[in-house]
């Protein structure tokens, strides 16, 4: 592909898939602005590799978003973060938590496993590739995440989670 074609293909892809990427990113990080930043950062990084990944950029972008989110979480772990929810909510009983809050309380890798497995409908192998971990790790992270979600959101029955 030549330069102009590359840019055209990139533009076309961004127009078509940006909203979907932002939704995935939102589930990963739980914040709309952060989700937009994650997607933009991944797309900017993708430009340099577009010649290689242009045919099917989704897995590459997904991996970058997940890795960037986990890196960002590591960097800002322990810091105060601004959210659009009131702090008092954290003190509320776990039974009253919604799915969004429950997801937010999961560690980022477990959250990524849940999002990729249940939202993106990826197989364990595809999830392992997206997270750059082994299938065994995906399985264990998935089990831990589901157990935690059940604790946090009892209304989600075991059959609803699908395990």
């Amino acid at each position: 592909m030549r330069g102009v074609d590359l840019e055209g293909s990139f533009t076309e892809y961004v127009v078509a898939r940006r909203a979907a990427l932002v939704r995935t990113a939102y589930l990963l990080c739980g914040d709309a602005h952060l989700a937009e930043d994650l997607v933009q950062g991944a797309l900017i990084k993708a430009v340099a590799h577009w010649r290689k990944i242009g045919d099917n950029p989704e897995p590459w972008l997904r991996r970058v978003m997940v890795n960037d989110h986990i890196s960002g979480w590591r960097k800002h772990r322990g810091r105060e973060r601004l959210t659009d929810t009131m702090p008092e909510r954290a003190a509320q009983a776990v039974q009253e938590l919604g799915l969004a809050e429950a997801l937010r309380l999961l560690p980022p890798r477990q959250r990524a496993v849940i999002v990729l497995r249940y939202y993106e409908d990826l197989t364990e192998r595809e999830t392992a590739v997206a997270l750059s971990v082994s299938i065994g790790t995906v399985k264990s992270q998935h089990a831990d995440a589901v157990r935690r979600l059940r604790e946090l959101v009892p209304t989600l029955a075991a059959n609803q989670i699908g395990v």
């Binding site: 840019e7 939704r23 997607v39 933009q40 990084k45 849940i114 249940y118 989600l156 609803q160």
Partner: protein
Amino acid sequence: MTELGTALRELADRQQPVGGKDAADLWKQGRRRAAGRRAVSGAAVVALAVLVAGIGVAGPEPRLISPASEPHGPGIPNRVEDPPGWLKPTAYGKRVGPLSVLARGMRHGRMELFGIDAKSGKYRFLPNGDIQVPGTPVALSPNGRYVAYWAGSDGKTVTSLTVFDTVTGTESGLSSGDENKYGYIAGALTWLNNKTVLLAFDEKTSPDDQTLGLTHKVETFGVDGTGPDEASVSPQLVAWSRARDGSLLIPYAASAGRLASPPEIWQSLGSDLRQNGDFLSLPQGDYRQVSRSGNLSVAIGSTGAGGHTALLARHTLNGDPNLFEGDLRDVGDLYVGTFLGWRSADSVLVTGWQHAPNGQASLFEANVRTGKVKRVGDAGDDADVVLAVASDLLEKPLVEANPPTGLNPRIVHGLELALLLLLLACYRYWRRRARR
């Protein structure tokens, strides 16, 4: 799709788009980022290559002397280092000149000659310049192009004179017409001009003979290969040269190819030098030079039993180096290593120490008329590291020399570049963090 999947989809669909840059902006930003990364990667590769290249022996040694500044041109450096600590192993140069300084230093356990290029400041050991017979004289032509030194073979006996052309890198061995199978005892060695070298020597009468004053030969050789010729030289030019073994060539050697009697060549060490003028009554004095104006004379010699090698001055009368007025004066309480020459009608350049022979030797400019001494530079670990300077440069200002870094400049440049990249990376990281 499971119920959780549906719940997640509903959750994702509820979030409101916040807007962002359009695709064209993202593409431009991505291109800029890619270009920046390529530039940083390229610089890192260059820095690494420079470092790797610098570590090898292909890199040049530290450049010690700043480039000669106009309008003065090349000059004598104000700092001479002992090079083995930092000079690369292959620092032997065929074309190294003309030289500003000729010096000696230990190399692979042997004493060897090295020179400092007058223009570039590079240090180079001379090929085959090992001083096999320590203490034998060496001489640098006034323009710094030719180095003459006695060569030997067994560490005891000199057998021929070698003249090395520092510009072309060629050397030639000059032998006396009637070569002596036992070798020679080296005497005075001096350049009469930029083309002719004069040497005085004695022929050994046996392999162990170390006696001076038996054959007394004085010969001249031309750098064009002519010679040996009978010495037909101006007394002014040869009168004040000395050999390190103490023999002294006095004025009346003119036209003497083969000197007939002892008065022409003196043995100073342990001898009474009361012949031909009271200046020579200086006990153990072994060196003297008269200024170009003829009004001043200096001697380098011991002032008496237990005395150090001092710089002594005296007025001459009527330009006759053997007629004096007044007493010898000690100039500046100097411990002199090497007398390098006259810088003006009144001042001389010497290496040594002042007051006490402690620490590194210095370069001193001494005004022998006023007795004032000024330290003008460093002369290496010992006072006699510097053997000679190009006398044509003596009257020019000294050239400022940089201290040796001990590091190859390519390594230094590589480290500088790496540091710059690190600072750039820190800056970018800081900005990105601040933006968040």
